[in-house]
Symmetry: C5
Subunit: 154 residues, 5 copies
């Protein structure tokens, strides 16, 4: 059976992993979920790799909420670079779901954004595994996760 | 038979992969195309690697349209770094076709640019596989993809 | 028996490794500690890798205090990138504990911060090895190491 | 027989590869040259790796002319990072010869600079292969390729 | 017998490798030195890797003097990233000794700084190989190489 890893952080101010797991379950069946939590986004890459190599996950959703300072941007960049490396070492997709604290105007919008992006990327993860043709059909459609889609100009 | 992978994104506002496939077919024969679409540019590296290693592609064209924000520039940089790594892990060329939203003055020019660059890079991909001598003949010619060539000053 | 590596620097102005070792011992038992010190943060990655591969450490805590200049920020970024690479090469967590000199308003606060962050991350290291469920319970809680937690907005 | 790879780009406004080949031939004998051209600097790393691993080159000279925009600087950085990676994967030197368009005050100086730097680095490549002692003798001499040497202050 | 590699550049304005070798010999015995020189800092990583893998060096000291321009900072960053990668590929320490031209107020101070830092890092290299306990004793002491130590605040 297909196994999906979900890993998030204690640094985040929203239980993003919880929303991802919930949305996966609403979207379809035929998979099991393996959940982990690490301190911060820089701990995500190795946690994702362990989910793939030690727990047999076929895909991982990695969620985090980088802060608003310059140093947080650097941490997010390091984490993203690591997550890409893991994908290349394992030939497995990792769907990165990062919400930067300064993307939202206040705590309420931030909580809304984190939940919405986590849910929409959970569907992307599901599509990568079970419905790749649905993604091809949406090529160039200007889709966004969280805020509104910008749409196609083709 | 030679196999060319084409992978683009749902984030892009133009079906760049479609234009690349069309141009490949106008340019020559002797190859098959394998098409994939992923959510965003950071998903391109592993998708390209899977096209090479799991689908046997000899070359991949990876297309995306990074946004105009600072965070989009960082994502594009991470994606490009990953695409170079894939090339080094597989000894296969990946022709990266990125069009940044802020390269064009409006949506109409952006759509034009995305199509033109996708088409011209599809020809580069074809040349890398079938006509390497044509590239050597153009060494130092100041060629550009999309906007006008700047030409040689030699 | 579980082995935890602790590596810090002579560049740091606080004996951060000493505090990490002390806190580990207050937190639990069932592990041995292997201690190393290197000149600066850029020496940490290979030292951590040697602790894992040559000394058999199951996890490493890597501590450093980057300076306040632009060049120090670059060094910290290079070190962090290296520490993530080591984790991916070994499938072992490395808990990075960096305190930037300009995070604190004076030497007194800096000393306090370096000790507090080293201690709190030592507990994170312990949890990753012995109490992973405790981390999952804290997913999205807005935890910080050093300064006060910012809390959940979920 | 020693084999030297030379790879440049169609993006460059000067046939830098041609100058490198010419200078190699003026400098010595005992080697063969293998020439390639790719679209842009980001295509250089894999081309260099293929020259080493598929064509048996002992050293590669990789030449390019990044543009004056911020995005061009990022591309050059990505290419350089890739060229270093190739060296570490193959234990072969790659002599990178990049001339940034904004290094020169006009097209005439740019053409002069590109030729001069290509020629002087071709000699460095020759020395790395055939005269390493000549480099040691010049340690700390403040040598530059293209513009004038700045000299030693020792 | 222990073998220490020393590699520097013709770009540097000071014979930093010479000072490192001299200081190593003043500090102790029981090792041999293998010396190399390359054009610039970006050539250091592969040279260091070759010293380790082809010449059997147990540790390498890599010395360079990046210039004062933005492009020089980028080159130094690329070189440093490569030097860390080599360490992770070989499990050997590389002591990086970079002196940026703009760290000193004039040529005289720059020459002084380059010699002093080269000498002090040569001792660090010696300690990593022969006296690791001496480094642990200095953990958190705020040591610097070149300019004055800043000291401990613990």
């Amino acid at each position: 059976m297909i196994k999906i890893g979900v890993v998030d952080t204690t640094f985040s101010r929203v239980d993003m992993g919880g929303f991802a797991v919930d949305e996966l379950k609403r979207t379809g069946t035929g998979f099991k979920v393996e959940r982990r939590t690490v301190p911060g986004v820089k701990d995500l890459p190795v946690a994702a790799k362990k989910l793939i190599e030690e727990q047999g996950c076929d895909l991982v959703i990695a969620l985090g909420m980088p802060g608003r300072e310059e140093i947080d941007k650097v941490c997010a960049h390091e984490a993203s670079t690591g997550l890409i490396q893991v994908q290349l070492m394992t030939n497995r997709h990792i769907v990165e779901v990062f919400v930067h604290e300064d993307e939202a105007k206040d705590a309420k919008e931030l909580a809304w954004l984190a939940e919405k992006r986590a849910r929409e990327h959970a569907i992307n993860a599901y599509d990568l595994l079970f419905r790749p043709g649905r993604l091809v059909k949406n090529a160039g459609k200007g889709l966004r996760q969280g805020f509104e889609d910008v749409g196609s100009i083709g």
